[in-house]
Symmetry: D3
Subunit: 308 residues, 6 copies
């Protein structure tokens, strides 16, 4: 119970902003202690819904209730606290990929090291290094699949793992090209959304999209590194623009090299199978899942041989 | 050069039958020595085009030419000769999968041994044992993909290899079910074609098809083994009828369990990627392939990083 | 009005089960006298929603109300009462096809007698005799068309009647094959649903479906009767698997014989026209029906020449 | 053998026109005696390919051959000869529906007599009487189905026969409306083609089509008879414009009354099943037909139970 | 405030009819002064919802409220008042096209005057003169686009203006035919709806539709004027039936002359772009519109260069 | 007639290269005097098929014929001759747009001058100036529409002319954006083909395409000019990637601003209507054109009111 006059400092996620005719306006905040609080901010101050802030407040009486008047509020990204504390807060307040980020980072960076073709290696490293931080935070989509923090890295990692099986069966594939292509195929998702938490499409995301932004990025980095006329840059750009295949999926070109086709297959499979696994997790053996959007709205059966 | 009166005994594939008003009629035969010969058979005797026979003949003069009058002819399957000799003849006369049959047989039988679920193991073994010989001879299709002798086993083996990669990423999959499903999914192709060499669809193949014949087979074997009411038999039958997915691909049901979905994905990928690999093999680096039927008639580019 | 302490015995349909912390739990029952009653059952006893039971009860006070405590309850199927009484109860509690079951039974059995081809006759009789009882009880679907008790027999009968007209115009049709095909085409609907009243799809219904179950049944019965290699068994199986035509309708094969095509036409027409007749029945002359699901969501006009 | 100077008078169908620098030009004519003749016409005279003429000629020498110089030529339609002679000539020179025209005329006129609704009766009689002659001569299409002389009447008759079966099963249908609708549904085909023999689409046939011409005809005749505001005229017009159903089949409206839906079904069935019967006629039992255009290019199997 | 016993005369739109057991029944009326009033009518008198009437009433007490008892009520169309007064009332009570009707009338009649081809001129004038009044009142649709009073004339006018640009670029177009075609293409919309205010489809609108009614109209007027066999009448009829292009848009024929194709293009563009303009008007710069039905449910961005 | 020993200098287009075992190899050349000549080149020299060269040759005897041995050969682009001479040669040897290039250049440059928005103006001018020469030479496609030299400029010009009409009707359009968008929408077609004469798709054209190359170009030039974060650059890039609308037409995004939608409409119309005009030009009044690929393979009627 809050006591009037007491000071309360805490991290909280802003849920809602409310109008007010007073010189403070009330906002709903969900705190790190799982409480729903009403915090009052000065009229001229702004916060964003769905973001985490550190609030320093004091409890006041307001009509019959106790509200918290904010003295300061600082967005999480500007707090000078250890990374582990930040990650803990993010995991608490947001939906997170069910993975060990450090482990997949090790895997992904290990695979980048295996790339032998110098142009592909340089292109991949340059782009990866430039956007690494966001790469491990952004989701892969706002809904449909991998729609949670770190979803992009999780999805990319699964694709790299699946690709290994393909190299054994189809020896004509160029491994460097497949690996570089997978790492870069969705990287411009980080520009398609306005933030990694509670993501919404930006206007640029809607008007241009991660596929064309990805092509632009390859083109710009190739020019920057002097690779603008290389076969490698052309193939990487082709992989990026064709990974949704074509037609009503937003790719302006169909795959026209074997590696682009394989990346399309793996991308498609992982985006569907991961969702299916999550849905099966939610029901009991012997029952049907809900209708699954990415699987043509079908319901799947969790059969009695299912591994637990 | 043939000499009149001499005896010539040889294996040969029948290319063509011709009418004749004489009491012997001429047929065109391609011999194991790569010669095009004309053999004359008695009116009342029959041979089938595209099959291999052992002919015992004697050379005779016919108009200005030398023909071979057949004394006996025996179809290859009824010759009492070593298997290795038979296989050598088949490889000479027909288009063959580019594989080492013995090696894939070892792999496939090894995987059957790993199946732990007793119902799946018994069902798979029973069916595999019953049709093993044809399983290693039949093609997977009359055109489109794996349309050569042993194509069915080659395709099945590649699918089993690809599946291993999926087990690592999607731990909720039941490996036994995926492996049993892959081994049995196309097995009734052996009833869809009239023979393994130069295959044509039979009437039953056209009217019923390998998918429904496969369902019937599972149903009959399950009843025979006392498994007719098991979850396992139902799931295997479901995998078989849903592996073409649905709609204009001949499946009466969409996949509704995770393992059926994965088998569909792998089947689809292997049927396309194997053809793509074969087509890339036919062109030089830097060029486009011909239009590829199974890949929406697209032409693929053999890029300059292609492995040789 | 119920009197406390009195005995009340009656047939009733279970509408709802409710939780309770007492050692009896309350269920809602709709009685043969159209009353909504609350019956209390012992914790360890089970009844199924939507089924009819014979209850022997005594009225008790419960809080401010009068409940009926069940002494016994027996499911209708196990009551030793005349068939006519059973049918009367079913007609009262469930939605029923608007037909005289005895009359259509006479028609259908008359048509079976006309089949001259011995294989078709034996196959049809064997399957019909084995499932006759359910055949006259099950619906033809859980929604869409003929979704009421006896719907399957009603639909089958209408198709047989329509077929007569076709024999006159298209003399090349084999009547035996059309009649046998119609009688058997949907028979495995009885396995697709969990019961004939208030039917739901079973898991096997969803994963395998009446089309493939029908194929399995033909295959098994043909084997049992020694007809496994007959043209007749193959044609019947073909008719069953092709009667939804193809594509997004669940048939793995298109019709490839004239009789299969005709059965597809008649099946399609009856499933739509019967619904249309029912919908026209619900509106007044000069008005439009509601949007009709099976007719592409169109609204039909009940014109002023409509027969009443 | 022709003799120079002799007179030859005969009926013949013009096969071909040839250029010439002489003042007579040669045409190829197939005669009623099945001979291929060369007839020479004066430059200023015209004949049409594919039409039948009565030629009065005299044999002349032309280079090394004998040609026939035409003195007169009269198109069959203008010859004053008995109808039976005309019909015999038409049957000889053209492809004809396999029917007894007199018998179906009796049937059709009998059905018109049964129409009780006075508006429908008057509309049907008026239009039928006005176009009766052409109705029994025109084909139902230039290709696809019933593409031969009298095809239109043959198709209309089969539809009327099939409809009888529907009246028994679906008692809510208005028989008068169905019968009138069937008789009139395709009647404007006679304006879509340039002639009944060797028909080609006219420009008006291509730009307006029999469906809209049919609507115009109903509209004009209704006005002429004072029925312009009747329910009957509206329903007949609706039946005509909706009988191809919709979409890529050229109907501007979907059926919205039961009778229009039934006529659509019957029209569709007869146009396909008649072709199927004709194709089965061309192959032997146990074989597949050619690919059939109106049946999605499928090949059908003439099974061993087929009636002969 | 109403005073009991006082007389109140006013124009009002009927919103609702209510049942009553008294000999007067109450209706809700929205008056020209924007008041919601309850008017009581005698049992035997009828008014239509959504229509404007002139009411002469007297205020009476009814239970605790004041109602207005109607002495007379006259529908707007029968009031003898100036056109400008009528138009003012219509604009007040209904949703109206954002145009100056007089200005577009001048433009349209000016364009009719420019038609030089005598047949096209006479046909266009005859039809336009006959339906001019309704032409300027009816909407172009009940929803989707131009769904307000005068929508038909507004849409027709925009199309005529757009066509001018096409004549400059594509000199092979016949201007008379394009202009006549545009003016007449949708004219039968006035028969498709039951009134110009608050329009609903009539049964004839649903069963026949403005496209076929338009064809009938051209056909009838051509016959009336002696133009029934002219190229011009055929082309006009073709334009009308093909202006929705084909397929699922209700045209029985695709455009087959250049002018029909151009009219289809312009019709399609104006029906979509006008809606888009209206939707952009509703949002602020920098934001997305709502999902727009006629534009495949897409949301459009009102960018920062948008003209105000 | 060629005389042995004489010198012959001329422009010619290379038709064909032939193998030879001699140290000169023969090529077929079509000369500016419309002669088909055989020119012999030294083994180590290369020419390209379909290109124009200036040849200096001497006539020699070769077997029974006279060949021309080339002393020098210079590709047209490297000849120091007046532009008018070059253009005359191009027009002679290739298929050319039916336009006055100078006139449309004046129009286009006039429109660029009218652009007021400084970012759009600078972007448009920069790109136009950089590629102006090729812009007036390249076709708009290799087949389908405007598939001739200068086709790109011709198509762009027609679109600009059509746009003027739209500005009058839809006042909410930003003219600068529409004009800039039209000028730039197809400009990367010059990179999609290997040359402007006898164009073939390059590998980069196939793998990346003019739409994505256009996006890259906008992105690179915006960065170069410091406009990378402007609304204008984003909108231009959006227009380019959405001008094929979406789906099976190669656009990765649908139009989402009004100007992009209008450019899509105009582009679509001009690409079809120009072809239609060309096809109508090829037939006589009263006849149908051939089937037209870009118009769904329809045949169009050249009616009797067609302007000549």
């Amino acid at each position: 119970m809050l006591e009037i006059g007491q000071t309360y400092n805490f991290y909280g996620k802003v849920l809602n902003l409310n109008d007010s005719t007073y010189d403070h306006y009330p906002i709903n905040v969900f705190s790190e202690d799982s409480e729903n609080l009403i915090v009052r901010l000065k009229k001229e101050e702004e916060v964003s819904v769905n973001k985490i802030y550190y609030f320093e407040t004091v409890a006041i009486a307001f009509k019959d209730k106790i509200h918290l008047e904010a003295k300061t509020h600082t967005i999480l990204g500007e707090m000078d606290i250890p990374e582990t504390k930040k990650e803990k807060l993010l995991k608490f307040f947001y939906h997170y990929a069910p993975i060990d980020t450090e482990a997949i980072r090790t895997d992904i960076e290990g695979i980048i090291k295996t790339i032998e073709n110098p142009v592909l290696k340089k292109m991949t490293e340059t782009i990866y290094d430039r956007f690494r931080e966001d790469f491990y935070l952004y989701p892969a989509a706002t809904k449909f699949h991998h729609a949670y923090i770190s979803g992009l890295a999780y999805h990319t990692h699964s694709m790299l793992m699946l690709a290994k099986g393909f190299f054994k069966v189809y020896s004509f594939l160029n491994e460097d090209l497949v690996n570089a292509g997978i790492i870069l195929h969705d990287i411009c998702k980080i520009f398609e959304f306005d933030s990694y938490e509670g993501s919404e499409y930006t206007i640029k995301g809607k008007l241009i999209g991660h596929i064309t932004m990805g092509a632009n990025l390859i083109d710009a980095v190739a020019t920057e590194l002097g690779f603008q006329d290389t076969e490698e840059a052309m193939l990487l750009e082709h992989i990026i623009i064709s990974h949704h295949y074509y037609g009503n999926f937003g790719s302006p070109r169909k795959p026209a090299i074997a590696e682009a086709l394989i990346i399309h297959f793996i991308d498609n499979i992982d985006s569907k199978t991961t969702v299916l696994g999550e849905e099966l997790n939610l029901v009991e053996t012997g029952h049907l899942t809900s209708s699954i959007g990415v699987l043509e709205r079908e319901r799947y059966y969790k059969h009695k041989l299912t591994n637990d």
